[in-house]
Amino acid sequence: MADNSTAIKTKNHESYLDYKGKHSGLLGWILSTDHKRIAILYLVVISAWFLIGVVIGFLIRLELLTPGGTIVGAQTYNAFFTVHGIIMLFLFVIPGIPAIFGNFFLPIMIGAKDVAFPRLNLLTWYLYVIGGAFVIIAIFLPGGAPDSGWTFYIPYSIRTSTNMIITLSATFILGFSSILTGLNFIVTIHRMRAPGMGWFKMPLFPWALYATGWIQVIVTPIIGITLLLVIVERVFGVGLFDPSLGGDPILYQHLFWIYSHPAVYIMAVPAMGVITEIITVYSHRTIFGYKAIAYSSLAIALLGSLVWGHHMFSSGMSDTANFVFSLLTFLVAIPSAIKVFNWTATLYKGSIELEPPMLYALAFIFLFTIGGLTGIMQGTLSLDIHLTDTTFIVGHFHYIIFGTAGFGLFGGLYHWFPKMFGRTYNKKLAKVGFWILFTGFNILYFPMFVMGWLGMPRRSYDYLPEYQSYQVISTVGSWILILGLILIVYSFIKALRSGERTTEKNYCGGETLEWKVETPPIHENFYEIPIVTGGPYEYKQNELEPEGVN
């Protein structure tokens, strides 16, 4: 990718971390409309929520160590899995990669100074924080923490006396934040690409964000209105979903999953984008099947929006609907598999460097494949009857969601950390952390497949003694996983505090535009807006040395 001079030099050459705008100190951050600073704001708050979610997850596993009550009662357990779900989904994985890496790198990768609507961008962060505050209020207000499960199924979510209204409002606000982020990215990609950067010269991470943006914009309003209606029904007693007023609880499930299934792709597709970047960089090889990966992102967005019914196979849908949704579910496997094959083909004959980000990328492929194949099992009507509401499902979606969004996030963070903060991290520590996390992950979630196959129900606080051996293995796995997470968090904190400073622009031999800007990037990213002439991944095959940096 060659860039020549075009525009006038920007005034400020300071790194975005030192840049002084209208405000200084903390205000200079929380009032900044710089996309990079907003990304860091998101990173801080999202990490905090993630750690809270992890603690609750740890408590859930601890409770399941023995049959019957171990550390908490049944009602608290219900609150645990509800709050764990709400935090991990709405406050961690859904905003996760788009809000952090999307904000930070989308403008840089397409050669822009910022996103299309910087102030709107900051607003999304505030909405996110307010939504999070609502969740905290819902947990601690006297009525009791929400206990309906993160799916808020009718009629229980109308009847329960816990703090449902605030929880639903929190989700509504978070949805708003997500929509505006998606909207902003779509417009940014349409309008802000550097001169010469055609659609097919755009790196694949922006492509993934583009597909994600569309899912966010089109389907999120549906859950917004649905949850709003549950609030209206609770407050005013309007007959909408409540079966005692003639409502149809199955219709609620339809509307809920019309958003919440595509939401899985809001989590997964950006992570796939991150992984694509990592794989091509650390195998020093041009990505295999660029267009196939770009189109498959769009195909996943499209097909993923049409398969929500597979969450309801045992809810009593018509046979026609069961058949149609099962068929469509199998179809989503096609674009997903296209991606996996293209990643593997990129690795083939590449000069692979097993750096920490690459380890996460490879683990991503492994975990995503297991999660995906078990997903196909559940898409099969006859099997799903057996597997519905067992821990098999729990295992499946943790492999998919944690395995993609979580590993994609850690991988991306190691990949881009020196670029974002201008400091290097301890690679050995990062690798040890990875292996412990990966081992713990599989020990934690794999027994859930076995237990579930044998009939262990999910969301159950008590269980029959014959499941205990699996539960114990799983709980021990959670301890290992958390040990890994502690090491990972420690590696980042240590790098931030005492990591060696670096200003090397291209420390990993990447070819996309973020490797051509300063480390850390200057206030408006580029001294002059680049003119793009080549494609995003022009490695000479099997090249060992990183290409020259200008």
Partner: protein, 97 residues
């Protein structure tokens, strides 16, 4: 692109809007009048067709969509396509009620 903006200045004269408005009011009158006749279940189809024509007029003329570039048109088609497909899939559950 600049040409189109020039056009939008000239094309959307007061009279074009007033004609559109007359058409919209006429269509409203038609849909009310037709509702009085007993067409059975076809009535909903007729009502929705008339509403769609009205929407088309508002979109293309009042909202200047006629003069916009294709990107915007594709955006709108995506949203409408999504709603129609969702409707169809939803009714795959309710069709044999």
């Amino acid at each position: 692109m600049e040409d189109k903006e020039e056009q939008s200045l000239n094309n959307h004269s007061y009279s074009a809007y007033i004609i559109t408005w007359l058409a919209l009011i006429t269509l409203t009158a038609i849909t009310v009048a037709v509702a009085g006749i007993d067409f059975g279940n076809a009535i909903i189809v007729i009502a929705l067709i008339i509403a769609s024509i009205k929407t088309y007029l508002v979109l293309t003329i009042f909202m200047h969509l006629k003069l916009e570039n294709n990107t915007l048109k594709v955006f709108i088609i995506i949203a409408i396509f999504f709603l129609i497909v969702t409707f169809a899939l939803l009714f795959s559950d309710y069709s044999n009620y």
